[in-house]
Structure formats: structure tokens, C-alpha cells
Symmetry: C2
């Protein structure tokens, strides 16, 4: 029996604003779509939090025995400034500024994004489709929406008719906005506007002569609207109805609201069963913002090369810190909070190490491993409540730290504790032990120490020790070289 | 003045079979297209050699001061078995066998390919376009070829008319094949064939009902021919004429021959100025072949987990080994040859290390650094002759190894030697020092050594030494833990 059959998972569905029991459409298969980055600049730490949240969701669903098809897109065309229907394309603008072809911008920042995700130990998605890779499919969906009467063509562009849609559907149901308020909050259309209504949004945009990324279409040369790609790519790879759609809270409106409308308008279905939204990151209590300088890039976080932090933090420490908050809550990054998280992370990792050397006893311990395990699952089953999970993991840490070599647990319970702790720490929370690069730093430190010991041995004329150090190092492939400036080493 | 203005680079142009002086169309810009992998299985070591060759070309052109736009595609659709016009699509077939959606196959093997390239320290290309990302552009090129009269539509497929093309052009000029021989070597068309001539090749193929990857087109639902994508993506990103097109020798015919024909037929130009082809790898003197089991995957090479090798070899050792042969020559992989290469690589790296500690002298050395530097460039300028370059690098190695602390070189010449050697070793040949993972293995070895030393000190009641080891390790963040089973350590 698969684990998921034993675990009732509840998800806070943004659409209904209720915790709902998760019922997969086609268990053991689960389809999950997450909005990926627009690759025109370095990925923000706030975006990283969202992607790490859904990595944790992906990991837990997989742990439960679901076969998850996880689709996360790359937006490489069509995303205009201010997420609006007017203005310059974000990637084209960056291409102009950096004097590169748009696809060079896409390549540069896609590689950067992948690198940061790997540093955070986030699994790659099962499919990573691109907007430019689905122009044909986007044109097909637009044709269907027009055919069904929910969009109109104007001067080479195609607009979604929000007012008409809202007459029989509820535009705003995800974000909780009322269309009347939206209309009253919108500036009057200027005389030149092609839209019938200011709320209408472009699903195909005529390309201005200077627009670089452009494709032919039944409506002339242009490019697809940003909102469209996610409707197209999610349903292409997951079907017209699928289980989970995730993204950052900032995408709820208009992006996800538009996705819902496009899906309904093209194929008549509410595509998504469970909408999930990750909350924002702040930095020292303030919203992160490029314009105020209150920002932190992943690279700065890892290196400490920023005036916002006293030192760098390993990606796993930052990940652990994020997991200490529920994904639906705001989280504030600060040096103090990271320092505290680092201590907690180290304690956790030391306990994991110590656990592997504990021995079974007579079963006299009063640590109830089975009840503890149930609590761990219960935390995750309650809308992926990682902070509660972590509090349970630390109950195990306290038991391990307080334990003698003989744990007092039966062999069965000791194994269960070991398997459960490592599963939650490594497989589900996605934490890693000290990184390789940390190890190479350590090697250098230890080598300096050994060289100093050998230098002292030589000064003391303790040739036996001095030769022993040199010979043993040589036997493990480290060659010492004595020179006028002291002793150095090379790996051979 | 840029370096390239001082260096006459000659390239063996596969098209003319002559070494030709390289003249960039738009210096300092250089456009280079290399055929990338079809991502339906793990990348072969033979493919790796080809990609590493063009990485070296990219690195040398960049070193010379060219601004290289390096485009290497990912074939994620349309490549049929046996590179033919009939048969199953390679990716769809793998998708069926692994019960995955084709784009999951694409994602899996693209990630694997990128990982292997990173292990070999190959730079990512500037743009990495996909076939599925250019369906619209492929349809446009097909329309142009039909319009120009070089292709015909038959039952939902579009075929390139080779006989007609050859009447006024030379089909076979790259591969050196004569069309008469090709025709006589081809089986008669069976009665069902849609082709007018057996040499004709599909540029659009009608999708059978079971074909998964399919798109609408003016000729019905289908998919683009494999040869077409490279014509489309190279000219889209590099222009209708560009400098260099590279690939493995096995791609000369029919793939590159068809590219030439498609480019000529669609826009009237010979798109490529310099065709470059990398030669094959053999293993223990035999052609690598899955069917005979005479294969070696990159992972097996690195781990040594194969009956073909006595041990694993670091990626940089394998890369160094490949660079010891000219890219245009066959190269045989064998354990003996790799062992020898590893010794050479280690000697080279040790000399690089030693060089950094040498001091300048009175200029009394008879090692002529300037003449040596010229020879290094001359080797690379002669069609990227890396083996000759390496022989010159070892002249420097011998000088360095034979040198005292005082090199006898003037400060200027010592700097020149240092800069030139590191540029050729690291920037151009793309070698790396011992890898991080090797360092973490070493750390473990050294820690075992230190723990043994401390255990002995304790047995000898030398508490000062025993405490010193523990405290110094703690000070560099390594914690020793004494247990009944001995002492272990953790990184904190």
C-alpha cells in the first residue's frame, strides 16, 4: 500500500480559501504546474522561496508515493514591463541594454536560475517548457477562444473580453476582487486604446516594428500575451484538468485570474483543482525592492558579500530557515534570524550524525518513536506545515543528544527513528550536509595544521614524526614540497 | 589591438578540404553553430569529444579577442531512427518505452547532457535553441523552399527535390559523394513511396496517428524533418551567412549536406564559410557500438565502474587525453593511454603550481619565453593543433622542473611564462585542477590519519599532542567525537 493511502493530506486551496482534503484526479499520478521565472535578470531571493516551497511540495508528494509530473515553465518571451499589455518586453529590453540577442539573455539567466536552484538543492521539474517553444499551441488556444466568442481581434492584436466572460463566470474569484471595483479602479481608456474595456487583456499582441521576438499568426506578426503561455503549457502536459497549480502570491492577480479565464474560455473547464500560493519574503522588515536597494541576491546570501549580512550562509542553512516558516506566511530575512537558523541547522545535522552511531537497547526508553513519526506526518499532512514538522524533528534531536551510546530503543524503533529522521531532513525538507566546497576549505585548513605540526617536529628533530606525516600524506596522494618559503602541498 | 589581428588562424575547411585563413565576416563578431545532441539517451563519449573540440575552438576564438556567438542546438523532436525519413521518432520511442511524455525524456537527457558538459568543464553555448522552440520558423523556411521550387508536397509531407537541386547545384560537395553513386546505391523506391526519387528527403513529415509530437501546418498535422532545424536555427541566430559550422564527422552526410541544400534553396546563399568536423573515438581499437557492448559512458569513465578500465579518470584527465590528439584525427580510448595521460596531466599541473613560487633572476636563463610563446600560438593557429601545443607546454614543464627557486628569468619573462602557460592550460585547453570531490575524498583520508595520530598520542599518554590536535581541528570547524567504536568527526 502506498504511503498516500495512509495519509490524508490537506491543502489550503487559494481558490476556496479552505483547507481541503487532497484527492488526486488519477492517483498515483499527480499533475503539478508552477509558474517559473521570466529570465531577464538574476532570480530574486523571493522567487527562490516560492520555488523552494514547491520543491518541498513535490518532494513530499513523491515521498507519499505519488508519481508527480511537475511542470515549471521558463518565460522567455511576451512578458511586458509592469506585467501590463503595453510597454517593452522585459527580455527584449534587457537584450537592447546588454547588446545581446534576446535568446542570449534567455540562455544567460536560465543558466543562472538553474545554478541557484541546484545550490538550494531543488529538484529540476519533470518538464521545463518555454513560451517560445509553444507558439503554435498558443495560437491554437487563441483561435479556440475567439471561436468560442470570448475574445476579439483589433488591429492585429487579440483581446480577451473580460466583461463578457464575467457576465456568466466569476472573474476575480481567485484573487477575491470584484469586477466593479476593478473597473472603478482603472483609468479611463484613452481614445487610442484598442480595448473595448480597460480590464480586457491581450492574448496576442501585434509586434511594433522594433519588437525583436515576433512570429507570424492569423492576425499578423506579433507575440503571445504573457498570461496565455501558462494556460497552454499546463494543459498541454497535464490535461484539461489537473491537480495542483502553484506560484507566488504576487501572481494571483492578474496572472492566475487570467489563466482561469483562458482555460474556461478555451475548453469550458476549471483546469486547476488546488491553487497554492507562496507568501513573500521581506528583508529586515521591509519589502524587497530594487529601487530602494533593499534586496539580497542568492549569491550575496551565500558569500556574505553584502552590507545586509555579517557573513555568508550555506544554501542549506537558508533553506532550513525558509522551512522554519509556513509557506503561506510572510518571512523576514535578517542576519540575526539566519544566525539562529544556522545554529539550529548545525544541531540537527550533528544529531543525524550521532544517531547513526547509536545502538539498540532493551526498549526501555520512553521516547515513543511511533507516536513521534505520526506527528511528523501529521504536520506535513496539514498543508505542508514545515515549521511544526521541524519542531517535532527537534524532539528527536533532544532525545538523540540526551542519549547514551545505548539508545534504550529496540532495534526496530531505532531503525524507524533513523529512517524517519533522514527521510524528513534530506528527502522531504531537502536539506544537505556541509557542502563539498566547505570540505575543500576544510582540507586546506587541516593541511596547514599538519604542515605546522611537521615543521615543529623537524624543529624538535623528531624525524620519525616528520617522516611519518610526509609518508602517510604521500600514501593518500598528497605530496608535500619543502621550499625556502615553507612547505606546500599538491594533490596528485 | 586585439590578439586576433596578430594571429593568422588557419582552419581546415571540410568543404574545400584545404586549410584556409580564417577571415571573420564581421570581426570582432564570430558566429559559430554546432550540432547538439538528440536528447533521447545518455550522451556518448564520442559525442563528448566533438563537443569538447568545439568548446576548445570557442575558447581559443574568445581568447583571440573575438566576440563569439556560439549556438548549439538541442534536438528534441523530429529525429527518426537510423537518421532516415521512415521509422519511429527517437524521442517518442524512448517515451513509449519509459512510459513518459516525450518532453520528460527531453528534460531528463538534456539535464544529463548539461551535467556531463559541466564535468568536462565545457562552457555552455551563448544560445541553446530547441527544435520544438522553432516550429513556426521551420514552417516558414519550408514555405520558402516550396515557393522557390525546390520541394514538393505529397500526402501531407513535404520532400526536398534532390535531383532538381543537383541539376544546378552540387549535392554531395561537402561529403564528396557523387549523386550518381548515391542513386545507384539506393534501393528502388517501393510502390508506396511518396518520394519522386529515393534521394529526396523529408522537410515536413505527416504524423501517423500514433506519433506523439505533432503540430498543425499548411500541409496538415505533422512534424519537421530533422535536417531542417539546424538550417533554421543557425540562420535565425547567426544570419544567412555565418562563419563556422561544426559537428561530428558522422553528420557530414546526409545531415550537413542537406543543411547546405536547404539553405541554398531557401535563401540562395551558401550559409557556412568554414565547415569543421571532429573525428571519431574508438575504444580499445574498435568502433564504439552499443550492439557489440564496446561502449563507455562518461559516468563509467569518471567512476571506473566498467570492465573496460582499471580505475576512474577525472574529467580533466580525459579532456587532456583528448587534447593530445588533433580533433581531425581518430583517437583510441584505452586504459593504458588514459594512465599515461593522467601522468602527463599531473606533471603539467605540478609544474603550474611550482611556477607560481619561482622567482625572477638576472635573465641568464637560456629558456626563450618569447619564442616559446610564439610557438604555442603558432600551434593553435595551425587548425587548432592542440597536440603540438601540448608538446610546447611540456618544454615549459621541463624548464620549470629543472629550475631552482631562482628561475634565471627576468621578471617580465617570468610573468609572461606564467600568464601564457595558465592561459593555454586553463582558458584555452579548458583543463581544471584536481576536482572538489577529489578534495573531499582527500579530507577524509587526512582526517583518518590525524585521528590515528591522536589515538596513538593518547595511548602514549601524550596529552599535549592529543589535545592540540582536537583543539586545532575545533578551531577550523571540525569536531572530533570519541566513542566506543573509535573517533569520528563532523564538519560544523
Amino acid at each position: 500500500m502506498a504511503l498516500y493511502q495512509d495519509n490524508d493530506l490537506y491543502i489550503n486551496n487559494s481558490l476556496t480559501r479552505k483547507k481541503e482534503k487532497f484527492e488526486a484526479l488519477n492517483a498515483p499520478n499527480v499533475g503539478m504546474y508552477v509558474c517559473g521565472p521570466t529570465v531577464y535578470s538574476d532570480v530574486h531571493l523571493g522567487n527562490c522561496r516560492s520555488f523552494i516551497t514547491f520543491d518541498m511540495v513535490y518532494r513530499y508528494l513523491s515521498h507519499l508515493g505519488y508519481n508527480v509530473r511537475y511542470v515549471r515553465n521558463i518565460t522567455d518571451a511576451g512578458h511586458l514591463e509592469n506585467d501590463a499589455d503595453e510597454g517593452e518586453d522585459k527580455i527584449s529590453k534587457k537584450a537592447r541594454l546588454e547588446q545581446l540577442e534576446p535568446m542570449e539573455i534567455v540562455q544567460k539567466y536560465t543558466l543562472g536560475f538553474h545554478e541557484v536552484m541546484a545550490q538550494f538543492n531543488a529538484h529540476p521539474p519533470s518538464i521545463e517548457p518555454t513560451a517560445t517553444g509553444h507558439i503554435v499551441e498558443q495560437i491554437e488556444m487563441i483561435e479556440q477562444i475567439i471561436k468560442n466568442g470570448w475574445a476579439y481581434v483589433e488591429n492585429g492584436s487579440v483581446y480577451f473580453d473580460v466583461e463578457k466572460y464575467n457576465a456568466t463566470n466569476d472573474y476575480g474569484k481567485l484573487s477575491g476582487r470584484k469586477i466593479e471595483d476593478l473597473i472603478s479602479g482603472t483609468r479611463e481608456l484613452d481614445a487610442q486604446s484598442e480595448k473595448r474595456n480597460p480590464l480586457d487583456f491581450a492574448i496576442w499582441k501585434k509586434a511594433s516594428p522594433s519588437h525583436i521576438q515576433r512570429w507570424p499568426s492569423p492576425w499578423g506578426v506579433g507575440f503571445p500575451g504573457w498570461h496565455l503561455e501558462c494556460s497552454v503549457m499546463s494543459t498541454k502536459y497535464l490535461g484539461q484538468q489537473f491537480d495542483i497549480h502553484g506560484g507566488g502570491m504576487d501572481l494571483k492577480f492578474p496572472h492566475h485570474e487570467c489563466e482561469i479565464a483562458q482555460n474556461k474560455a478555451s475548453n469550458g473547464t476549471d483546469a486547476v483543482r488546488y491553487w497554492m500560493h507562496g507568501n513573500m519574503l521581506t528583508l529586515n522588515g521591509q519589502r524587497m525592492s530594487k529601487s530602494t536597494g533593499n534586496t539580497l541576491l542568492p549569491g550575496e546570501l551565500f558569500s556574505g558579500d553584502t552590507d545586509k549580512l555579517t557573513k555568508g550562509y550555506a544554501p542549506s542553512v537558508a533553506r532550513f530557515f525558509m522551512m522554519q516558516a509556513h509557506y503561506g506566511s510572510q518571512l523576514d530575512f535578517s542576519d540575526e534570524a539566519l544566525l539562529a537558523a544556522e545554529k539550529g541547522y548545525n544541531r540537527l545535522m550533528q544529531a543525524v550524525d550521532k544517531l547513526s552511531s547509536l545502538e539498540a537497547g532493551e526498549g526501555t526508553s520512553d521516547f515513543d518513536v511511533e507516536a513521534w513519526q505520526k506527528q511528523c506526518y501529521a504536520a506535513m499532512n496539514d498543508d505542508f506545515n514545515s515549521p511544526i514538522l521541524i519542531s517535532h524533528l527537534f524532539e528527536a534531536v533532544r532525545f538523540i543528544n540526551g542519549s547514551d551510546k545505548n539508545s534504550g530503543l529496540s532495534q526496530t524503533h531505532l531503525n524507524l527513528l533513523n529512517n524517519t529522521l533522514t527521510a524528513f531532513v534530506f528527502d522531504i525538507l531537502g536539506l544537505e550536509k556541509a557542502s563539498e566546497s566547505k570540505q575543500s576549505d576544510k582540507l586546506d585548513e587541516v593541511m596547514k595544521m599538519l604542515i605546522t605540526m611537521r615543521t615543529k617536529a623537524r624543529a624538535d628533530k623528531d624525524w620519525a614524526l616528520s617522516d611519518q606525516i610526509r609518508d602517510q600524506l604521500a600514501s593518500v596522494g598528497i605530496q608535500l614540497k619543502d621550499g625556502a618559503d615553507g612547505t606546500s602541498y599538491t594533490l596528485v
